[in-house]
């Protein structure tokens, strides 16, 4: 245990995902020994992300304006909609260069252990979007783990009666994995080989 401010920083860093106690300590002392201007830039970036980044009113991706870059892009099609859990999944799929449609970000997956049911996700908003009529195919790109699978099954049950084709990314993705960690080739191929559900 350290005293005061340095321990506070270690504690805060330690609460970040993927940062253990040792890393938190290393980062904290790195910050302490950095230039004041570097630290000011980091602090400003932290503050700015909460102040200026919003969620897109259409797809719930992160956005700097009312709508995100993808929703504003007139070259992208409205017929195929890809449903993902988190904004980071949009980035992962964009990197594959395989997808030219639009997204819908649920904000998580069904997870009873964490008290997350369908109502806690942007599912009602998705159904309203689909009700507007342009979408022919819905791609379920939730994570290939039990929670993502449950969410995909639930969405398929809700949406198939609406007469929209529902597909799921093909396996080949590591089971139990996070979409964001799949490499581009695997993810790209999974996209190509998506199947009807």
């Amino acid at each position: 245990m350290y005293e005061g401010a340095i321990q506070d920083l270690i504690d805060e860093l330690g609460r970040l995902p993927g940062v253990g106690p040792k890393s938190a300590q290393r980062i904290a002392f790195h910050i302490l020994s950095s230039d004041t201007t570097d630290v000011a830039r980091l602090a400003a970036a932290l503050r700015k992300v909460k102040e200026s980044v919003r969620f897109c009113v259409t797809c719930y991706n992160v956005a700097e304006e009312e709508q995100c870059r993808i929703c504003r892009d007139p070259r992208r099609g409205n017929e195929v909609l890809c449903v993902v859990e988190e904004p980071k999944d949009v980035v992962a799929i964009e990197r594959t260069g395989e997808f030219r449609g639009r997204y819908h970000v649920l904000g998580g997956a069904i997870n009873p252990l964490e008290g997350i049911g369908p109502d806690s996700l942007k599912i009602r908003e998705l159904l309203i979007r689909l009700g507007n009529g342009d979408v022919r195919e819905l791609i379920l790109a939730t994570d290939p783990n039990t929670e993502g699978e449950a969410t995909a099954t639930y969405l398929a049950l809700m949406i198939k009666p609406m007469g929209i084709a529902v597909t799921r990314l093909a396996s080949g993705l590591p089971v139990g994995g996070d979409l964001e960690y799949a490499d581009e080739i695997t993810l790209g191929r999974a996209f190509e080989g998506r199947r009807a559900v």
Binding site: N111, L113, P118, T146, A150
Partner: protein, 388 residues
């Protein structure tokens, strides 16, 4: 296959220790409580990612240390593979295979095939169904590592499903409301996965039980010198907490689709009781394995000696089966020979003498049959020294 070197840092009683091992027989000698079992527990951990003695990882880390490290050099087909595990209680372990870190520690499963028989194995015969399920599942994973994924996914689904049933149960209790609440709409979604992974696990276990049967009979016969026929039978149903309702699997064994159908039926039947009690009552996590000697169940009927021989037969059968697959596993016998009379010592020695690597622990080296004594290590508190 054999373990060429084992290194431990802050594992159990060892601050830092390294031992160079050889193929063939090795005896680890030392008085009680010096740390013999700790050494082989570490090897077992590399093979199964769990301890044969404790469910949680915290006791494996030396008192006062934050993490424990196990390094194991395994030689198979003339090639050496290095496995390194860092045990971090309460968090995911870190693992390396060869020179590179792996994303999940379960990627190292399959690198070391090891069969361990220890006094704790008496629980296989006398203990709860969970002990026997773990015996099957560990063997399943050793033979086909993909089952590690199936097992983890299945356990996760049961946890999620239980959380859903429990919240709904609590909400109903608070509200005094109707039975099948609106909050259970997503139960179907979890059922689908419970059935899929459950059937996959069930198929694996049933197939495994069938394959084990003759090996168990043979091994028991050898260990107990022809006294009684040992058999194993898988039981489907709900066990535990006074709700034993076990039944034989259908004969002939259904294929995967048939097993999914079977689980679908069981789930439908159990639904009112599950909603009532707020937990998942059917599925492979509630099944059991019936062990019989002659016409009687071993549990509750077999003597101490018979139970012990049965437990040993289960491990030897696992060893035989892995051998049949074409990879010679490492065989470890912890504190076994002191329990046996001269005749059974000799018979056991005959059974295991051909092992690619055999590690035997004992308090007195003379208890171990001559034929199995190869290299000798003296174990004293926190230290291991070559002693031959």
């Amino acid at each position: 296959m054999y373990v060429r070197r084992l290194e431990l840092v802050d594992f159990r009683s060892y601050e830092r220790v390294g031992i160079d091992l050889e193929p063939g027989g090795t005896v680890l000698v030392g008085p009680n409580g010096v740390g013999k079992t700790n050494l082989i527990e570490a090897m077992g951990y590399v093979a199964t990612l769990g301890s044969h003695r404790v469910a949680a990882d915290a006791p494996l880390v030396r008192a006062g240390a934050a993490t424990a490290v196990i390094r194991c050099a395994i030689v198979h087909d003339g090639r050496e593979l290095l496995v390194e595990l860092e045990i971090v209680p309460g968090r995911a372990n870190r693992a390396r295979l060869g020179r590179s870190p792996v994303r999940r520690s379960r990627d190292v499963l399959g690198a070391l095939r090891l069969v361990l028989f220890a006094p704790e194995d008496l629980e296989l015969v006398r203990g709860d169904p969970g002990e026997r399920r773990r015996y099957l599942d560990d063997l399943l994973v050793a033979r086909q590592p993909r089952y590690a994924g199936v097992r983890a996914d299945y356990e996760r689904v049961v946890k999620q499903r239980n959380a859903l049933l429990r919240t709904s149960y609590q909400r109903r209790k608070w509200a005094g409301g109707e039975r099948d609440g609106a909050d259970l709409v997503t139960l179907e979604v979890w059922n689908a996965q419970l059935i899929r992974y459950g059937a996959e696990l069930l198929a694996g276990r049933l197939e495994l039980c069938a394959a084990l049967g003759p090996h168990i009979a043979k091994a028991y016969d050898a260990v107990a010198a022809g006294k009684g026929a040992a058999a194993i039978a898988y039981k489907i149903g709900s066990s535990g907490r006074g709700t034993e309702r076990l039944s034989d699997p259908p004969d002939p064994l259904p294929d995967r689709a048939g097993l999914e159908e079977l689980l679908t039926g069981l789930l439908a039947d159990a639904r009112p009781a599950e909603v009532d009690r707020g937990t998942t009552l059917v599925g492979p996590h509630r099944d059991d394995v019936l062990l019989t000697l002659g016409h009687l169940p071993a549990k509750g009927y077999a003597s101490h000696g018979e139970s012990w021989s049965f437990a040993l037969a289960l491990r030897l059968a696992a060893y035989d089966l892995l051998r049949e697959d074409g990879i010679e596993p490492v065989l470890v016998l912890d504190d076994v020979f002191a329990e046996l009379d001269a005749g059974r010592r000799a018979r056991l020695a005959d059974l295991v003498a051909g092992a690619a690597q055999l590690l035997v622990t004992c308090a007195v080296a003379e208890d171990v049959p001559e034929a199995l004594r190869g290299a000798r290590f003296a174990v004293s508190e926190g230290e291991v020294h070559r002693a031959d």
